[in-house]
């Protein structure tokens, strides 16, 4: 934090060593969050049956919308705080912390009130049916009642990371995941508190509250350079505006991702049934494990590629790109093998219902057809970010899950037999087109590198 802004080892140390050093921490954090994603669904699927599992599907885009607004405050505040801490300006940093605290509460409460008042129409629009609505509602009501705590928990984690405590932020994440794994069965199952799907929501909120109180203990400690104390809780228009202007971009990207899930849920429901919706949420979670591995790799690659590009070391830029693509492809190929050859075993984590299993296996196989290519597509998108080409980066990251997918989703089922397969096939099809786009953009960039290296 107060060290060097740009570690020059990025230009000298061995590339493979650097990638390991920068990527492994993010990969670990990512794995923790994908485990968290799986656990709730697994307990609910086994304990309460396939309709309860399908009932969870429309709650995810809603929870992600809430998370998107939370990340807006979190990213904005932590970016500003780390700039101030870099200048040892603790007074301003604490004012930002106070403002972020209040903003988290305001955003958390407003979102909860708005969504609770229109909960049924929202869930029906997001892919719930008459059969699954009661589960979705029962789960979501409790999640929304705890929404403020969720926002504070994620907000403080972002702050801890920027305040030089990435280790403590990681511990808080792991604590939440472990607690949730323990509390879930106790709250859900008949041999415990027997609260059903409500129990899963309560367990989630409770685990976050425990972590939140631990975070609060750290952040109220007067010996911390950055701590909560009286006098910082005044909303200042200027700080609020700055936080929002930084956070708006990640927020919009996250909202785009939620929109797609809503489109998919609706298409699956109108051409298929609740089982198809439930199957997609399972498939999404399984593929997400491998996707997060690539995301972790990408986070590790960014500073290395960025620095060497800035230092005009194009040979090293290409080296780190090649190495990251190699690992990403390996991770996605592993995912492909599991989805194509062992889909039933992956599905058994979530359910034993034969009809749902059949649906999952079919969708999972189709969805994973070109997984091995997706790794490099994601890496290329992030690579453009790292070398300061935000337009291309944003285009590529939207292309796979948004720009191509939505038209395909609307178009394929109109001629495909059966129509439901059209929905499943739109996913690998948009993956393929966006991979080709990525390769074309990269090829153009490599040509430019060659020219620039020769000029040097």
């Amino acid at each position: 934090m107060t060290g060097k802004a740009v570690p020059t080892e990025l230009g000298t140390e061995k590339i493979s060593k650097l990638l390991a050093k920068y990527a492994i921490p993010s990969i670990v954090a990512m794995i923790a969050s994908s485990i968290y994603n799986i656990v709730d669904s697994a307990y609910i699927g086994h304990g309460l049956g396939p309709m309860a599992l399908s009932g969870l599907a429309p709650t995810f885009p809603l929870m992600n919308i809430s998370a998107a607004f939370g990340a807006m405050v979190g990213v904005g505040a932590s970016t500003m705080i780390s700039v101030r801490l870099g200048q040892k300006d603790y007074r301003s940093a604490q004012q930002i912390l106070g403002n972020a605290f209040l903003m988290n509460i305001v955003v958390g409460v407003v979102l909860a009130v708005v969504t609770l008042s229109f909960l049924d129409p929202i869930l029906l629009f997001f892919g719930a049916s008459e059969n699954t609505l009661s589960y979705a509602r029962e789960y979501m009501v409790w999640i929304l009642l705890g929404n403020v705590f969720t926002h504070l928990y994620f907000g403080f984690n972002a702050v801890l990371r920027s305040a030089g405590h990435p280790d403590k932020a990681m511990k808080a994440t792991i604590l939440t995941v472990v607690l949730n794994c323990i509390l879930d069965p106790i709250f859900i199952f008949p041999w415990g508190l027997n609260l059903g799907i409500r129990g899963a929501a309560i367990a989630t909120i409770l685990s976050q509250c425990v972590s939140l109180s631990w975070q609060m203990r750290i952040l109220t400690n007067k010996n911390e350079l950055l701590h909560l104390h009286r006098g910082i809780y005044h909303l200042q228009g200027r700080i609020v505006r700055e936080i929002l202007s930084i956070g708006i971009s990640p927020c919009l990207m996250n909202l785009a991702a939620c929109t797609v899930v809503i489109f998919i849920n609706r298409a699956l429901l109108s051409y298929g049934d609740d089982y198809a919706v439930g199957a997609f949420s399972v498939i999404h979670k399984v593929s997400f494990i491998f996707i997060t591995l690539v995301m972790g790799l990408n986070q590790g690659m960014q500073p290395i590629a960025g620095y060497n590009y800035g230092a005009e070391r194009y040979d090293r830029v290409m080296k780190v790109l090649r190495l990251t693509i190699l690992w990403a492809t390996a991770a996605m190929t592993l995912g492909c093998i599991i989805c194509e050859f062992l889909p039933r075993y992956a599905a058994l984590i979530f359910t034993t219902d034969e009809q749902l299993l059949k649906e999952i296996v079919r969708g999972m196989r189709i969805n994973a057809y070109i997984f091995p290519l997706i790794g490099s597509q994601m890496v290329i998108g992030n690579f453009f970010q790292a070398i300061a080409k935000p337009w291309k980066a944003i285009f590529l990251s939207l292309s796979r899950q948004f720009l191509f997918l939505i038209p395909f989703l609307l178009w394929f089922p109109t001629f495909w037999e059966p129509a439901l397969d059209g929905v499943w096939f739109s996913m690998p099809a948009s993956d393929l087109v966006s991979c080709i786009t990525g390769f074309i953009l990269l090829a153009a960039q490599m040509k430019q590198f060659k020219r620039m290296s020769n000029e040097k």
């Binding site: 060097k4 802004a5 740009v6 020059t8 990025l10 230009g11 990213v75 932590s78 970016t79 780390s82 700039v83 101030r84 870099g86 200048q87 040892k88 300006d89 301003s92 004012q95 200027r238 700080i239 700055e242 202007s245 930084i246 708006i248 971009s249 990640p250 919009l252 986070q299 960014q302 500073p303 960025g306 620095y307 590009y309 800035g310 230092a311 005009e312 992030n382 970010q385 790292a386 070398i387 300061a388 080409k389 935000p390 337009w391 980066a393 944003i394």
Partner: protein, 209 residues
């Protein structure tokens, strides 16, 4: 004695600094800071030039993250990226602190130096303004522009400096409370302004002893 001088475009602050520096036989750090920052970080100077005293306010930066001098810091999704405006600012501010430690007497122009060195004891911060007509005339002459053109550029340039300063310091650019001495160079002319500052510095140093 370290002088940090901030100035409106066309106020003659740079020329005044040169006169003061000559008088005391000390260095003025201006564009040289960029070279030093590039040297220290190993990054090409072009990135620092793009980021120099501006924060992008375009539509793109609104959509994809405004917080980066060159529009690619927060936009790159990773505020920690070595090419982000935030990281480049940190490099430059480290360079300014280094200079302050190495050269106990020098002048640093702009670049939030008054804020960066706020805790350095032997440090006077100065803000120089001038009447708008004088500024337009000087700027138009220097760059061979029409008055109207010069006026728009002045306004845009000052707005850029202000938003850069306000973003990185949470203070307000040109707010008298931030500076030890604020003056209008239209009243005494550039040389007169420089003389007054020299006077001020001598007085302060005498009072210190």
């Amino acid at each position: 004695m370290i002088l940090t001088i901030s100035r409106q475009l066309g106020s003659g602050g740079r020329s005044a600094s040169r006169i003061i520096a000559e008088h005391y036989g000390i260095n003025v750090y201006d564009k040289k800071l960029i070279e030093l920052a590039a040297e220290q970080s190993g990054l090409h100077r072009q990135f620092f030039e793009q980021a120099d005293e501006k924060v992008s306010r375009s539509f793109r930066s609104f959509l994809f993250g405004s917080r980066s001098a060159t529009g690619h810091g927060a936009a790159s999704g990773s505020p920690g990226s070595p090419l982000s405006g935030d990281a480049l600012f940190k490099v430059q501010s480290d360079v300014i602190r280094d200079i302050a430690q190495r050269e106990p007497s020098c002048i640093i122009l702009g670049r939030c130096a008054d804020y960066i060195l706020r805790d350095v004891p032997q440090h006077i911060s100065i803000f120089i303004t001038a009447d708008i007509d004088d500024r337009v005339r000087r700027y138009a002459e220097h760059d061979g522009l029409s008055d109207d053109e010069a006026r728009t550029r002045l306004e845009k340039g000052d707005a850029r400096r202000a938003s850069y300063y306000n973003y990185y310091t949470q203070r307000r650019w040109g707010d008298a409370a931030n500076y030890d001495l604020c003056l209008n160079s239209s009243l005494l002319g550039i040389e007169g302004t420089a003389e007054l500052i020299i006077h001020f510095v001598d007085h302060y140093q005498a009072a210190q002893q």
